[in-house]
């Protein structure tokens, strides 16, 4: 469903992502981990077609993001780490806008909106202007809008920031439900416990390079460590730093 082939991205002379190859299957929950500034958000923005790779190709649902981006984006829902809402729209009006943008007919849109509003418990505030929403309310509204059109690919960047424990639990269940219905979920987060609990496969990116990719077991094998994901993650990223330093010194 998502295919990255030899993708590199440069910011001026700095390399943000280097020679990244990934294939993510339908119905897979792929967790994308990495330290701050590793290239996660850049990769996500390229998958959504917001940025173009300097070299390499990205395909979503078999469509090239550079040449068939508008069609490919019909399949995608993207939840950025800082979600955008129109301050002068109510939550319901915002959902209506998203439903229209993805071409849902009126009856389906209304039915689906009622469904997701109930699912995320937005009833109390959905008719207020979004400028009055708290961070958690904004997150829930944006998540609701992302699921409105039954996306084939759900790309989520740091979804748990600002959510209370009950909402986080709900979010986990919803992500699992999405995966069960065949949606591909690309999840970027620093919450390793969520990844350990939900992910089918985990990719670790560090300094623009994919340093590990596979199930938790295979990462443990790679790190030669039988510990938690946190320990594996720290070991792999530390090793990369040491390797880089060794190469620099020689």
């Amino acid at each position: 469903m998502i295919e990255l082939s030899n993708v590199s991205k440069r910011y001026g002379t700095k390399v943000a992502v280097e020679d990244l190859n990934l294939q993510i299957q339908p119905g897979e929950l792929f967790a994308f981990l990495g330290p701050n500034g590793a290239g996660k958000t850049t990769t996500i923005k390229m998958i959504c077609g917001l940025l173009f790779p300097t070299s390499g190709t990205i395909r979503v649902g078999g469509l090239d993001m550079r040449t068939q981006g508008d069609q490919a984006r019909l399949l995608i829902s993207y939840l950025p780490d800082v979600p955008y809402l129109y301050e002068k729209l109510t939550g319901r009006e915002f959902l209506q806008f998203i439903a229209d943008m993805y071409g849902l007919d009126r009856a389906t849109a209304l039915q689906k909106m009622d469904e997701v509003i109930a699912q995320f418990e937005l009833d109390d505030f959905v008719d207020d202007l979004t400028e009055r929403y708290s961070h958690g309310m904004r997150q829930r509204t944006v998540f609701t809008s992302a699921l409105l059109h039954n996306p084939k690919v759900l790309i989520v960047d740091e979804p748990t920031v600002g959510l209370d424990p009950a909402s986080v639990r709900k979010l986990k269940n919803i992500l699992l439900d999405q995966v069960r219905t065949g949606t591909t979920v690309f999840l970027s987060t620093h919450s390793l416990d969520i990844v350990q609990e939900l992910a089918t496969r985990i990719g670790i990116i560090h300094r623009g390079r994919l340093i590990g990719c596979g199930s938790l077991e295979s990462l443990r094998t790679q790190a030669s460590l039988d510990g938690s994901l946190e320990e594996v993650f720290l070991k792999l990223t530390d090793e990369t730093v040491e390797d880089t330093q060794a190469v620099t010194q020689t």
Binding site: K9, R10, Y11, G12, T13, K14, A16, G37, K45, C48, G49, L50, L51, F52, G69, D70, Q71, R73, L74, I76, Y78, P80, V82, Y84, Y86, E87, K88, L89, T90, E93, F97, I98, D100, M101, Y102, G103, L129, E131
Partner: protein
């Protein structure tokens, strides 16, 4: 493209219109419900400006009509050509700058670009907003002039019918060309943008300087000889504005024909205005379809991911020069100064416009010669002072007024600092006033020295400019805090919004009154007498004292209102 995708993109135009309508509707409802006093003040001030512009225009047109000046129609035609040409230039630049901010540095467009919204539809949606913002002042200032013309000459009813049609068509062309220029610059400008922009600014200044010099020479010859040929030569310098291919001339033709009640002669220029405007818009939309996403990617990733910024000698100099302020205020000053100097869009505009005014001042020497009567020198000197004041007023409106609003959602950082919020306002006030005083005083001194003005005149000018710099800073900072708009991130939109327009109007009123009180009497007396008679000295001193009092009020009242707003502001 699949049939579904194609159908969806066709619906997007309607979808964006509905979005705009909903946003406008909700904003208006909220605005009417919560800030009636603010709304009434803005409407009253706008009416005052429109009334003042209309009144001045009425006087001017009446002068032409009552004195039966020969070729009055021709003179009005030339004036209209210049008016629409200068408005075209203004709309081109302001449209280009606003569309840049809307397309490339707004979180809304990043959101829209991540959805299946077509690039040209997003462009069209943002273009309409940008055009509305950039032509707001055009409508406010242009309409009263045209209405005054219509009333003085008792034009046909047809004129008022044609007026909105041509105005609406007219804003399309410069706005579209500005957008195309913006898209091309973003896509084609080399990665070393700062250097490229500097080269562009220098070339632009050289070109404008050359044109100004040629026009000044022609004007001087015309004034010297006073014969028909030299006057013809002066008019020839502006021939491009009267070319049959100039949109400004189509506007003049259509309005003058409508005023005569000649519908047949209106048709061609109106058709030219609309067809060219729509064609330029279409060209801009097609360019956006192919260049917008590419340009967005280029802007987002064209520069280094992390750029290292260190201390700068300018910051240290500012810190040392402002030792008379307490440390927190100085730190706030340096924060604003850093933000300003790291934004080339801001200082490049100041550089270009200050350069233009400097060129004008240097060229103004051409208008004055020893054998000219003294009143010319006094008039030019007063005009230069007014030009400096206008420049300061424009800068304050564009750069200082939006400063508090631009703190935006980061305001909590300042709000939680262990310093009083009053200091935030005073920090911004000192930032604005110090920059304005340094630039304006230097340029005024250059102007006075070039014109070899008397020491008394120089002292009056220095004091007047200081009062203007302080007063305009007080107005912009105070009103900026009172009418802060934390939701808008584009400074040009804040500057041309309702609050920004109110600030501009207040600034213009203040500068007219201050110059009229402080410098006007001295120059006007010397226009008619060889020296200032003693009996007028108390009036001149009285005017200066009144100006000082007015300046004091312009600083303290808005700042106090701004401080009161900030003290009670929740964030």
């Amino acid at each position: 493209m699949s049939a579904t995708a194609s159908l969806l993109t066709e619906r997007q135009n309607w979808l964006f219109q509905r979005l705009r309508w909903r946003l406008l509707n909700n904003s208006c409802r909220q605005f009417f419900a919560s800030s009636r006093i603010r709304l009434v003040s803005i409407i009253l001030c706008s009416l005052m400006v429109a009334g003042a512009v209309g009144g001045a225009s009425w006087e001017g047109f009446s002068l032409l009509a009552v004195n039966r000046i020969p070729f009055a129609g021709g003179i009005i035609g030339i004036l209209f050509d210049f008016l629409f040409l200068s408005l075209s230039v203004m709309l081109f630049f302001s449209g280009g700058i606003i569309i840049y901010g809307s397309l490339f540095s707004s979180s809304e467009t990043a959101f829209l670009l991540s959805m299946p919204a077509r690039a040209d539809r997003i462009f069209a949606y943002k273009f309409q907003t940008a055009t509305a913002f950039s032509s707001w002042a055009f409508i406010l200032l242009g309409c009263p002039i045209l209405f005054a013309y219509g009333l003085v000459y008792s034009v046909s009813w047809y004129f008022y019918l044609v007026l909105p049609v041509v105005l609406l068509g007219f804003v399309l062309l410069p706005g579209s060309l500005g957008s195309i220029a913006c898209l091309l610059l973003v896509n084609l400008l080399p990665q070393r943008r700062k250097q490229a922009l500097t080269v562009f600014a220098v070339l632009f200044l050289v070109f404008i300087g050359w044109r100004a010099a040629v026009i000044a020479m022609a004007a001087r010859d015309s004034l010297n000889s006073g014969n028909r040929d030299s006057l013809q030569n002066l008019f020839a310098q502006f021939e491009f504005a009267r070319s049959p291919f100039a949109p400004s001339h189509w506007m003049t033709q259509s309005l003058q024909a409508a005023a005569r009640g000649d519908p047949q002669s209106v048709t061609l220029p109106v058709a030219l205005i609309w067809s060219n405007g729509l064609f330029a818009y279409l060209l801009a939309a097609v360019s956006a379809r192919y260049l917008y996403r590419r340009g967005y990617n280029r802007i987002a990733t064209g520069t280094e991911l992390r750029k290292r910024y260190g201390g700068h000698w300018l910051d240290k100099t500012a810190m040392s020069a402002l030792r008379f302020l307490d440390k927190p205020t100085r730190l706030l000053f340096v924060k604003d100064f850093r933000t300003f100097r790291r934004d080339p869009v801001q200082w490049a505009q100041i550089l270009i416009f200050s350069g233009l005014v400097l060129l004008y001042i240097l060229n103004s020497r051409q208008f004055y010669r020893e054998d000219f009567p003294e009143r010319f020198r006094q008039g030019i000197s007063l005009m230069n002072l007014a030009a400096m004041a206008m420049l300061m007023c424009a800068f304050m409106g564009r750069f200082i007024y939006p400063m508090i609003s631009l703190e935006g959602k980061k305001f909590w950082v300042l709000g939680l600092l262990p310093i009083s919020r009053d200091r935030l306002i005073w920090g911004k006030f000192f930032f604005a006033a110090s920059g304005a005083i340094v630039i304006a005083e230097v340029m005024t001194l250059i102007s006075d020295l070039i014109l070899a003005m008397q020491p008394v005149a120089i002292v009056i000018h220095v004091v007047t400019i200081a009062v203007l710099a302080l007063g305009l800073s007080g107005l912009s900072v105070g009103l900026g805090a009172w009418l802060a708009n934390f939701r808008e991130t584009d400074p040009s939109k804040i500057a041309v919004g309702m609050g920004g327009t109110l600030n501009l109007v207040a600034g213009l009123l203040f500068l007219v009154l201050t110059i009229g009180l402080m410098a006007g009497p001295y120059h006007i007396i010397l226009m008619f007498r060889d020296e200032v008679p003693e009996k007028f000295i108390p009036a001149i001193i009285g005017g200066i004292l009144l100006g000082l009092a007015l300046g004091f009020c312009a600083v303290t009242i808005p700042i106090r209102v701004g401080i009161r707003t900030l003290r009670t502001m929740e964030f």
